[in-house]
Amino acid sequence: MNGLLEQMTEKALKLNVPLSVQLDLTYRCNERCVHCYLDHDDHGEMTTAEIKHLLKEMADAGVFILTLSGGEIFLRKDFFELLEYARRTLMFCVKLKTNAMLIREREAARIRDLGVESVQISIYSHRPEVHDAITLVPGSLKRSLDAVRFLKSQGLRVVIANVLMTQNMQDYPAVRALAAELGVDCTLDPTITPMMDGDRSVLSLGVDQTALQQVFRDASLVGDVEEFCAISTNPDEDALENLPCSAGHTSCYVSPYGDVFPCVQFPLPTGNVRKQRFIDIWRHSDAMNDVRSIRVKDLTTCTSCSHVSSCSRCPGLAFLEGNMRGPSSQDCERSYARTGVPSANMLAKKRAGAGQNLGQTNLGRADLVQIRVLPANVETSATSATA
């Protein structure tokens, strides 16, 4: 993070100011991505007036960075009216997330005129047959890439977001090369989010251990592989007092229906801006304050895990698994792929499984590693595993 932004974030944390908010303007979409966790029907989106009122409340609450996302934001007929209000009147730092299918030269010029900070566009592959098979819209890669060029030619900052799944896993080096050729940034995300209603079936599209290992050992992505994949040391007292992440502390998420959540990936209901003021939900919601009270030392299972000080554990994904103070299996998989050391959660599950399935001899590759370290202290096993 930029040093000054880090300082401002620390100040916002002390003052309980929501510095950054993602607002989804709609869940409607003109693509049908196979991994998408949203219900695309309109169940009563906020009106233009309601959103303007909310934006004013958010500016008054101190929100500085406003990410407008969806669904597809350009499906809202009032999109530019809202953007103009957010930028010209309220002076938010606005970031957009879009599939860019509806951005042509004219839209790109307007986005530039309104001083948008960056536009993030989902690109799944450099190959139309792969990208379009994920979005389920023929011709979508071409349209999105045309938009990248229109935006870039306006001098805007464009970020290609590449979500990794089984279908496109092998294409990320070419997507990164394409981004470099277009002169835009590229981010890579191996996280598939479960549906908001808790349906976890889309997780089967997520990349497997072998693929994760490949990503985490790619020096062009992670820098120093040895350092990135190193097994972490025991956390000190200070680390145990750390906050899990920014969700509910300096950032939150608002749905098109006005529901406020700690994060887009953390669907714990905390209030609705149609019934309460945004600032009252932020400051006084019991659920928000519950999230805020959690420190690393309060986590179940994770505090006894050797990865606790280096893990990317997402409390939202943990919540979707049933306990926001618990482990997140997807992050356990990542920690395991990074270091080769199974997490406390994996070991606990293994023990529970072993108790139920005594005599089972079905040993997969992961099982072999887990059985080797099962009875011992995880930290000791980790050290000996690398010796």
Binding site: A12, V17, D60, G62, T89, L90, G115, E117
Partner: protein, 105 residues
Amino acid sequence: MSRLYVARNPRVAARSLDGEMMIMSGRDSTLFTLNKTATILWQSADGTTPLDEIVEHRICQEFEVEPAEALHDAETLARELASHEIIQISEEPIPQPNPAAGESR
């Protein structure tokens, strides 16, 4: 001597955090924070009030400084803020699209 007019650049993002102004450049997303004098200048930069009036009515009122010295310092500050495209300066009044100063809260 000709008068100087200052106006907030509508391309920046701005918000006050506990009285401290955060400004993000529209040119390259660099983040700035403004000190007390620069914040007053930013808040007063409506494009129509000349800098000498801003100095006389806002800056000299807030800090006990000589008007001539304060005006000199304010001009230097205004030119520096303009070099980062945070404000615009001109010898003519600068029409503004709206009066916002990003200082909700």
